[in-house]
Symmetry: C2
Subunit: 339 residues, 2 copies
Amino acid sequence: MARHTGAETVVFSSPVCITATASTVGTKEGEGPLGKLFDRVLKDNMAGEQTWEAAESVMVKDNFGILFEKSGVHPDFLIAGDLQNQCCGTNYGVRDLNIPTFGVFDACATFGEALALAAVMTDSGAAENVAAGVSSHFCSAERQFRFPLELGNQRPPTSTYTVTGAGAAMLSKNGTGPYITAFTAGKITDYGVNDANNMGAAMAPAAAECISMHLRDTGRNADYYDLIATGDLGCVGRELLLQLLKKDGTDIADNHMDCGIEIFDKAAQDTHAGGSGCACSAAVFAALLYKRLKRGELNRLLLVPTGALMSPTSIQEGESILGTAYAVAIENEVIKWNI
Amino acid sequence: MARHTGAETVVFSSPVCITATASTVGTKEGEGPLGKLFDRVLKDNMAGEQTWEAAESVMVKDNFGILFEKSGVHPDFLIAGDLQNQCCGTNYGVRDLNIPTFGVFDACATFGEALALAAVMTDSGAAENVAAGVSSHFCSAERQFRFPLELGNQRPPTSTYTVTGAGAAMLSKNGTGPYITAFTAGKITDYGVNDANNMGAAMAPAAAECISMHLRDTGRNADYYDLIATGDLGCVGRELLLQLLKKDGTDIADNHMDCGIEIFDKAAQDTHAGGSGCACSAAVFAALLYKRLKRGELNRLLLVPTGALMSPTSIQEGESILGTAYAVAIENEVIKWNI
């Protein structure tokens, strides 16, 4: 049964199992440090299609296919999203799957939102099995949010590199762990950042607030978690996050990692501040963190996908870039919450 | 407790109350047949802002404010969305509200999705009170999906007119009815329609399938409902819906209305096929249908927001326009489901 703590956090005292995960990435991600862990690496980033957008939809569809095969389950509902205008990567990706789909959007934090809603839906009895999945594509994102690739623009050192890929997880009432035991839905933060090439700075305050709220609501210390994994803050955002939390008296320097920093080799792959995009946290969770939980190398993970809310129109109109984050507690034991 | 029927429908046997609704619309909607029913009518569609996008965000914020005042409740979570790229109408609208927000997108069906997810969240115990809200703005939508307004393009007779407005509902575990008793989450349909000026044709098959699935899953006949209200099919889409359902042996000609047809006076207001946009079904529900339920003039309503999934990029790349729909059963009695 789900229970609202009276603040921003929801806790689950019954099992909400993650029974399987699936990951697909592009060529560059396949050549990175985690390359061998992904379920599928594209041979070329067009995926046999004529457009980048269609290539992203192929990844969405095929990655859900991998998930259904690995879990042995055809889910009741999908909760899914991506970065394309009007979430087209998802919509065209799932149209042949014949499964009702709830479209969600929280920029690069979408995987956190999808996991949270899927957990509530599974726990409530509204569904037996729900699949949460997201995608992003460097080429479709770059031309949409910044400049056409053909311009050959220089990317500043603070910029991140959108991950080409898809990540998904199957949530079920029945099965073995790991389990989603709680989530904290972050509030939107506005620190006045308006540089679309510095997403880390826009998102770090949201991540810091969300982690702080989560620890406060659950009565846990940061070192309760074996690992706190943010989504795509990159090198710039990670430093800001550590500083912001330290001001608050919380030190996570030793048990923090950022999926965006891990997915690329910064020196060798020319990716500047790190990876980003919806698929960044989702694919790294699916390929690396979920397996480490399964093997017992991690027992208590706080996954914190982070998002920068903006559009080219909002930037051109002088708006700042908003930050958001979801903190999802994923543990090898079901917790009997008493809050 | 929510219960999955094993198909596309979720039923609730405990009260999920809609304790209040709020509606805000633009000048043209205010001059229409329902003009006097809305909580607020803008004096001008810029709402005192410099851009259409910012005007939409002001409506979002103020309309949630009206909802909080009418319900006397500050909700735990918001579930909200709109038509702007990256859901910016919502994100900039809620940034000052200090409430965790789940961003959702299902084009003009977004209000149905938001109600469904808010119902599950309320019913599960994950929250005491959840507000579901959506918005759209004729000017921000027209330039984003079709042509800049300054071009002065002629609109064909099949085109619909995006409603400028916002609609929202407060869902609570405690309170009096009307109650959300069930919802059916539609599957994405693709009938190969690729005319962005004929959304009714793209959405009608999705509405027909969703209504059929709902009746099948709940074991109800169409005449169980006092009213089946679709979102924004318009005149063209309504005719197609009636034909498609008739082929299936279901006749809803006598108990169907379309919010898009009701919100404007077609002859006097030059709105062609009718109104559309996320706010169309939401504002008409909030201003008209909810009040009719409250007064007992309606006791059993099936609200079916409909959506056309596409973006200018997907249309330019030759993709068809996908359809989606959610059917939400809203009744004056709690139903003890036995399915």
